[in-house]
Each structure stands twice: as structure tokens, then as C-alpha cells.
């Protein structure tokens, strides 16, 4: 079935949807399996010159970027990382639809030289699509460390496609990769790919399918590709062709397929056999027997007991580092930069109407300032998680957590987005994209706001010493523990009621450990931060202004505002938790951003107590029972607006978004009442 096709010329006249420019740049699509260093290559080529968005109508991230090389302009499209191109997941559908519909000038297939056999599987699938392929043989350094020798020239001769050896984490081979793309486009490479063949009896069936559907395959699909995917039992292609054929013709196709339901195993097996033939002469492997670094580390990292101990230790150090380094910076930003700006703005606006300066200083600046002060903490936290992810450790964390996640009807992978939630719940909600099923995504999104984020930790750090000066440590960690216990409990209940009946398949690659790449981590930190600033920040800013208006009018002062009226109206409810209206208002404003609680309390108690210090004012205002109820309710209170916005964006459902809000509202109120009444019983009332 081998046949040669000449390389198409670089200038084509396909309708341009994504990019409009006079001299059409060459479009390169980057394809590869997860963990092969595809993002590293994309980041080296484009730097920060990239646009991150979503694939149209999808919640899968789309990255595009530009670069120039020897006067040629390249547009790079980073396809989602996928193991194959069968319609098993949204990512796989997106990757193949892009190549088929947009027909990029070149597809770069990135493979991991250290696991060449497995990662060449995607190449076998890519060669069945129209665009010419360049093979980026990445991680040559890792392969070398393991004693694996690969002769790129031999592999190139066998495959019939250009092969470029490289080590992207050391920025080696990137220039050669673009050179090779140029050579291929200029037609100087004898592009003649070898393609896999399947078992003879299946080949007969394949030919029959081809002749049955040949006249009915819609553009731009090729008949041979469609026939192969039908044989593989690809659900999307089956549906597509069913819609094109007459019922009789469709039945005859079904008949053929039904007698060969095991064909997927043969097709996949044939691809691996082909890979075996391709690499036989090119690869020299070391003798088995030596214990690799990965093996040694995994003896601890994946152990059911020591693995959990290691995970807790690593996360403990991560949190300690985050707060030890981040908190002083946060305080400095708040006290020096933001307060300084406020003073300066106050001076500049001295002549302006009072409401203007109030809007700008108390509304806009305090809203934006709040956000800015969290940047150092988030940068440190995301950087540490980035290192853990890039070394390959996080997959081990997910693996040892799998047993616990199963109790909640989830599996280990859900641990990864939830872990991001300790920084900020917004990336946690967005991170749920890595999960395969909608059920698992929804459940993870609903649980994410129960992970105590840095903002709530800041509230605890301020208020616990005020209320419980002699038991700060135990109360703080007790409340964090409460949050996590509630998370587990809610997960257990939801997975047995609303989300019953899901059997999540847990299939996850444990990549080899390797030294982290600073550039990759830097860019991942940057993107998480942008998500926080864009998604959380803009909403926080907008709602800050609304809350400012509600707390300023009709006035005078916050005690006579709409917000206070709402607080007073809710006081009967609050009394069940031992709380008066200012505490309720403080909690309500935390809807904008959790750390707002402190700012609101500051305003309310300053005005009421005539400028007394917040600490003294507060500690006198609440009984220990009420204080405990307030902190518990505050920790479980509805997700902040940023998280709500992200929840809607990811679920595209107001129903589920609302469900999440009501759920937390009920939990928060329930915990508040329970703690107040319970603590009162034990005599903490006075």
C-alpha cells in the first residue's frame, strides 16, 4: 500500500479562516503525544509571541504563535497533545479535524526518543492525513542517558520522512528543525513515507468498505482514511458516514464491520509492527537489568503508604515556601505600593467631587490592589507546582491519591486540578479540562471551591490570631481540615446521588523523571497568572465597583447603605450563627474576593467604634462560639465571582453554576449554625 506523493508547494489557495495576511505565512502544526516536550518546542519557537485562546466552541486550549527563520514567516499551531487520532477524546477530534480541514503546510510530529516505539504511534496516524510530516526526534539527551542510541539518518531512510534529532530542553536542534521544514517545502526532500499495512483478511474488508463508501465521502476527507477509521470503529466517523449513505448501503457497511469487531486491535497492532520494522535498524538499546532513576524514585513515590507521606511532605514544603516567601511581598505591596498609590491619588483628586475620589480609591484601586497583592504568592505557588509537574512528579501524586479520589467517584487525575485550587480556585476549575468525561469534569468543578485558596488562607491568617490568640495554630489547621473533610464528604455524597453510575477509566502515563525546564515552567506560571488576572481580575474589578456603590449609597457611611440594609434584613438568619449584621456584610462582600472580608470588617468596625484598632474592636464584638461559626462559614462560603465565572465558562451551564453556588451556601450556613450551637453547648458562649 506504499505510495509516494510529492510535496505540495508552499503557497496554496485554501480559504484562510484564522489568519489574514497578504503574503501568507507558512503554517506549521505541532502534533505530539503528552509529555514529549511539544510545548517546550512551541515555546522556544514562539517565545511569548503566542496567543492563547480556545478552539472554536470548545473548552480545549488553543495556542498559536509566530516565528521567522531565514526570512521565512511561520505560523505555528500547537495541536492538543494526543496519543492517537481516533475520536476517543475532544482533543483527538480537534487535532485531526484541524489537519484535515485547514491542511497546514507541514505537520511537525514530536516524539520522545527515550520511548520511541510508543510515541511513533501518532506518526503512523499522521501519515494517513494529507499534510507532509517532519519528525522531531526530541529528548535525545534523555535517551542517551539511558544508553539508547538512535541513528536519525537510518530512521529517516526507513520512514521516508525528514527526521531531526533534538533536545528541546537544552534548545538543541530547534534551528535544524526549521531548516528541515524549509528544505521539505522547497521540494528538495524526496518525501516518500512508508505506511503501515494491516492483516490480509482485514485488508480485504478494508477494500470492500472503500468500494462501498467511495462515492459518498464528503470533502475534505479522503476515502482511504474514512475507510480505515470505520474499520477502527471510530464513533465520529461512523456517525458521519451513516448520515451520507442510504439505509441499505449503511447496513451493508455495518454488516462488514460487525464481523470484524476486533479490527481495532489489528489496526493498532499493525501500526506497532510497522514501528518495530522502522526502528529495528536505527535503535540500539542497552541490556536490561540496570535500575533507572525513575525506578528508584518510584519505589517511594508510588508506594501506597510512603507515596502519601512523600506527597504530604512535598505539598507541605510547597505551602511553607509559598507563604514564607510570598507573605512579606504581599504585605509590602499592600502597605507601600497600594497605600502609597491611594495617598497619591487622594492628593491628585483633592479638587474632584467626593464620590469620584471614593469610586477610584475605594472601588477601583482597592479592587485592583487586592488582586495585585496576591500576585507574588500565586507566582511562587504556581512555580513550585510547575516544577513538580515538569519533573514528572505530579502524575505520581495523582496515582497515590487515586484510592482516595475513588471514594468520591473520581480517579487520581482529578487530584491535579484540585491541587491548583490551593493557589486560586479559578485555575483549578479551568484545570478540570484534563479529565476525559464530562461527569468527572463537572464533579471536580463543583468540588474545587472547597479547596482553601490563598485568599481564604489570608483571611484565616488575619482573623484567627484576633479571635483565638492562644490557639492560633490548631484553629487554623482545624479549619483547613474542616474544608477538606467537607470536600471529601460532598464528593462522597454527590458521587452516590447526583452523579451516580459513572465508571471512570483510570489510565494515566507515568512519564520518566527529568530535570525541569525553566522556560516551560516560566510560561506555565505566566499562563496561570494571566488566567487569574483576566478571568478573576476583570470580574473582581467590575464587582468591586458595584459593591462600592452598594456600600456607599444612599449613605452617609456604610452603616446607612444598601449593603447594611441587606445585612440587617438577614440578621435573623445570622443570629442562628451568633452573628450580627456587620459580620454578615463582611461575609457577603467576600463573594467578590475572599480577602474582601478583612477590608469590609475594617471599614465597618472603624466607623462604628470610632477608629479603634480592628483587632481590639473585633475580639470584643464576638464570643468564641460566634467567631468559630463565622470562620467556618466564611471558609465554606459561596465561590468568589471569578470562580463562578470560570465555572460557567467551563460547564456552559447556568444550572450547574447555580447548583454550585447554592450547594456552598447551604454548606456554609449549615456549618455556621452547627459550630455556633455546638460550641455554645460546650460553654464557649461567654
Amino acid at each position: 500500500m506504499t505510495h509516494c506523493e510529492t510535496t505540495r508547494s508552499s503557497v496554496r489557495t485554501t480559504p484562510d479562516t484564522a489568519l489574514e495576511s497578504a503574503a501568507r505565512p507558512v503554517t506549521i502544526a505541532l502534533a505530539g503525544q503528552p509529555n514529549v516536550g511539544k510545548s517546550t518546542i512551541f515555546n522556544i519557537l514562539t517565545g511569548l509571541n503566542q496567543h492563547v485562546g480556545n478552539w472554536p466552541g470548545k473548552t480545549v486550549e488553543q495556542k498559536m504563535g509566530e516565528c521567522t527563520h531565514h526570512g521565512m514567516c511561520f505560523t505555528l499551531v500547537d495541536l492538543p497533545g494526543t496519543y492517537s487520532l481516533t475520536a476517543n477524546s475532544e482533543e483527538e477530534r480537534i487535532a485531526r479535524e484541524y489537519i484535515i480541514r485547514e491542511q497546514p503546510d507541514v505537520v511537525i510530529a514530536v516524539v520522545d526518543a527515550a520511548i520511541l516505539e510508543r510515541s511513533l504511534y501518532l506518526l503512523a496516524e499522521l501519515l494517513a492525513l494529507p499534510s507532509p510530516v517532519v519528525l522531531a526526534l526530541n529528548m535525545m539527551d534523555v535517551a542517551e542517558q539511558q544508553g539508547i542510541q538512535i541513528e536519525a539518518q537510518v530512521l529517516q531512510a526507513a520512514l521516508g520522512v525528514p527526521v531531526v534529532p533534538m533536545s528541546a530542553s537544552r534548545a538543541e536542534g530547534v534551528r535544524e528543525l526549521l531548516d528541515t521544514v524549509g528544505v521539505l517545502l522547497s521540494g528538495q526532500f524526496d518525501y516518500c513515507p512508508s505506511v503501515p499495512t494491516i492483516r490480509t483478511d482485514h485488508q480485504v474488508i478494508l477494500d470492500q468498505i472503500v468500494s462501498t463508501v467511495a462515492d459518498y465521502v464528503p470533502d475534505p476527507y479522503s476515502v482511504s482514511w474514512i475507510a480505515l477509521k470505520l474499520l477502527e470503529g471510530d464513533v465520529q466517523v461512523l456517525a458521519l458516514i451513516e448520515g451520507q449513505l442510504s439505509p441499505e448501503r449503511w447496513r451493508s457497511v455495518q454488516q462488514l464491520l460487525r464481523t470484524h469487531e476486533d479490527a481495532i486491535l489489528d489496526v493498532a497492532g499493525a501500526r506497532y509492527d510497522w514501528i518495530g520494522r522502522m526502528i529495528r535498524a536505527a535503535v540500539v538499546r542497552p541490556r536490561a537489568g540496570q535500575v533507572s532513576v525513575t525506578e528508584r524514585l518510584d519505589r517511594v513515590a508510588t508506594h501506597p503508604l510512603w507515596g502519601i507521606v512523600a506527597l504530604l511532605g512535598i505539598l507541605g514544603v510547597a505551602f511553607w515556601l509559598t507563604y514564607a516567601l510570598g507573605t512579606p511581598m504581599q504585605v509590602w505591596l499592600d502597605e507601600v505600593v497600594i497605600q502609597g498609590l491611594a495617598t497619591w491619588l487622594g492628593g491628585v483628586l483633592a479638587g474632584a467631587p467626593a464620590w469620584v475620589s471614593s469610586l477610584l480609591i475605594d472601588g477601583v484601586l482597592s479592587g485592583a490592589g487586592l488582586m495585585v497583592t496576591f500576585v507574588p504568592i500565586l507566582v511562587i505557588f504556581f512555580a513550585i507546582l510547575g516544577v513538580l509537574e515538569d519533573t514528572g512528579y505530579m502524575a505520581r501524586g495523582a496515582y497515590v491519591m487515586d484510592r482516595f479520589m475513588h471514594l468520591m467517584g473520581l480517579h487520581g487525575k482529578s487530584f491535579l486540578p484540585l491541587c491548583l485550587g490551593f493557589g486560586c480556585n479559578v485555575p483549578a476549575v479551568m484545570g478540570s479540562r484534563i479529565l476525559e468525561s464530562r461527569r468527572a469534569r463537572l464533579l471536580t468543578i463543583l468540588l474545587a471551591p472547597l479547596v482553601p485558596c490563598t485568599a481564604r488562607m489570608a483571611v484565616l491568617a488575619t482573623l484567627v490570631p484576633v479571635f483565638f490568640p492562644s490557639h492560633t495554630f490548631w484553629v487554623t489547621w482545624g479549619l483547613v481540615g474542616l474544608n477538606l473533610a467537607v470536600l471529601a464528604l460532598v464528593g462522597i455524597v454527590l458521587s452516590r446521588t447526583v452523579f451516580r453510575g459513572g465508571d471512570e477509566a483510570f489510565i494515566m502515563e507515568l512519564p520518566l523523571y527529568h530535570t525541569p525546564n525553566l522556560r516551560t515552567i516560566g510560561i506555565s506560571v505566566w499562563q496561570n497568572l494571566v488566567a487569574f488576572v483576566q478571568k478573576a481580575g476583570t470580574v473582581i474589578l467590575a464587582v468591586s465597583v458595584v459593591i462600592w456603590a452598594l456600600s456607599s449609597y444612599p449613605g452617609p457611611g456604610i452603616s446607612n447603605s444598601v449593603l447594611a440594609m441587606v445585612g440587617r434584613a438577614l440578621e435573623p438568619v445570622g443570629r442562628l450563627m451568633g452573628l450580627d449584621w456587620p459580620m454578615l456584610v463582611a461575609m457577603l462582600t467576600s463573594f467578590v474576593a475572599k480577602e474582601n472580608t478583612i477590608a469590609t470588617l475594617g471599614i465597618l468596625y472603624n466607623t462604628r467604634e470610632g477608629g479603634a484598632h480592628l483587632g481590639t474592636a473585633l475580639s470584643g464584638a464576638l464570643t468564641p462560639a460566634a467567631a468559630l461559626a463565622f470562620l467556618a462559614a466564611q471558609m465554606l462560603f459561596v465561590p468568589c465571582v471569578g470562580t463562578v465565572a470560570a465555572t460557567y465558562q467551563e460547564t456552559r451551564s447556568w444550572r450547574w453554576t447555580l447548583f454550585g453556588i447554592v450547594l456552598l451556601l447551604a454548606l456554609s450556613f449549615g456549618a455556621g449554625v452547627l459550630f455556633y450551637q455546638g460550641a455554645s453547648l460546650f460553654g464557649l458562649e461567654g
Binding site: 481516533t86 510508543r118 481495532i264 497492532g269 506497532y272 484510592r403 483510570f506
Partner: protein, 84 residues
């Protein structure tokens, strides 16, 4: 040399085998086949505590599998330490 057909979950740590066949839904079979679990592929059990997920090495890759998924893969157990 006796070879026995057993579910993957039966392989003990560091025991080797070869994939015989896969069961289950088309989606699961396709995902597993893609990762290299095709008939004849050699596998080595890396970690298996008899409960919870397990780790198996196939085509130079360590794959963590839920027990339910691993039970869908039948393997020829390589003889040698199969004396229990």
C-alpha cells in the same frame, strides 16, 4: 514452558507476560490499544498490591491503570516464577 491466560491484575510485581486480548467497550479498547496494549505486546508488572490501581510497563512506558481497566486485559503469563 507453560503459558497461562490470566487477567493483567493477576500478574505479581516484576512478573512478565504478553497481551493476549482486550475486552470492554470500544472506547476503552481503543484507548488501551493506542497506548500499546495490542496482542503480543510484552508487559512487565511494576507495582501491584492486590488492591487499588497498578502500574504496568508496556513498550517502555509506565502506565497507571485502575483495577477495573486492568481486568479487561488478558495476558499470557510468562512461565518461570509461576509455581504458586
Amino acid at each position: 514452558m507453560v503459558e497461562r491466560l490470566v487477567p493483567l491484575t493477576q500478574l505479581r510485581e516484576s512478573e512478565e507476560g504478553a497481551v493476549a486480548d482486550l475486552f470492554g467497550g470500544a472506547g476503552l479498547v481503543a484507548r488501551l490499544a493506542t497506548l500499546g496494549f495490542t496482542p503480543g505486546a510484552p508487559v512487565t508488572m511494576i507495582q501491584n498490591y492486590g488492591h487499588g490501581p497498578l502500574i504496568v510497563s508496556v513498550r517502555d512506558t509506565r502506565i497507571a491503570l485502575g483495577r477495573g481497566q486492568a481486568a479487561k486485559i488478558r495476558v499470557h503469563r510468562r512461565n518461570g516464577r509461576d509455581t504458586l
